[in-house]
Amino acid sequence: MAGTTTNYGWTYPTSTDLVKDGATAIQTAIQGADTSLFTALGGNYPGMRLVKKQTIGSAVSSVTVSGAFSATYENYRILITGGVGSVNNGILRLQLGSVATGYYSNMIYANYASGSVASTGNNNGTSFTYAGVSDTINITAMIDVNSPFLAKQKQITGVWYDGTNSGRSQGQCSDQTSQTAFTILTTSGTLTGGTIYVYGYGIS
């Protein structure tokens, strides 16, 4: 007579069961584990998962990360931390794949002291601007990209700051082709060290 496990009730055979029923018993037991894990984790690809990690080299003005986007996830977060830039107030840009046109965005920012709000635009640019910051202390970026792998236009958001203001950049890449890679570019100076992390948002 079969028994069941204590917590999730997975069925297992007993030592007196017939050997000829072994394959069926294994199938039943492992299906129980599969079902429990799927429920506990929240799906096949739940939560946020690290899908790519890239160390930035020495004195580079652009870093291309290939194989970052795939059919496994629809939406992604790109984080950059550590390292140093060669200049202060360096503005990082983002390109998806080889797409170098059709970036529409703006950056709305406010002054730390006065709180005064202002903005700057990027109309059909060659890249998504104000995607992050590089200075002589560190390199930092926190970018969300919606549906880069799909044959659709892609929404992008990022965070920017300097010694006087901080703001949020948002917009889109109007290109409607599937992209698997992205490039981080400077506007001035170079980058040394630091790490680019790419996370996929779980789709379950």
Binding site: Q54, I56, S61, T64, S66, N89, A118, T126, T187, T190
Partner: protein
């Protein structure tokens, strides 16, 4: 264009100096963004 003024380019783990063509493309695509700190 002086050879030693060209920055490096990185593709995954490979870092190398930009070619003249890549450097010109980089300059052409680099926007003239305002320095908001000023």
């Amino acid at each position: 264009m002086k050879k030693n003024t060209k920055p490096n380019i990185q593709i995954d783990d490979v870092v190398r100096e930009m070619t003249d063509e890549e450097y010109q493309k980089f300059l052409d695509e680099c926007p003239d963004l305002p320095n908001l700190a000023e």
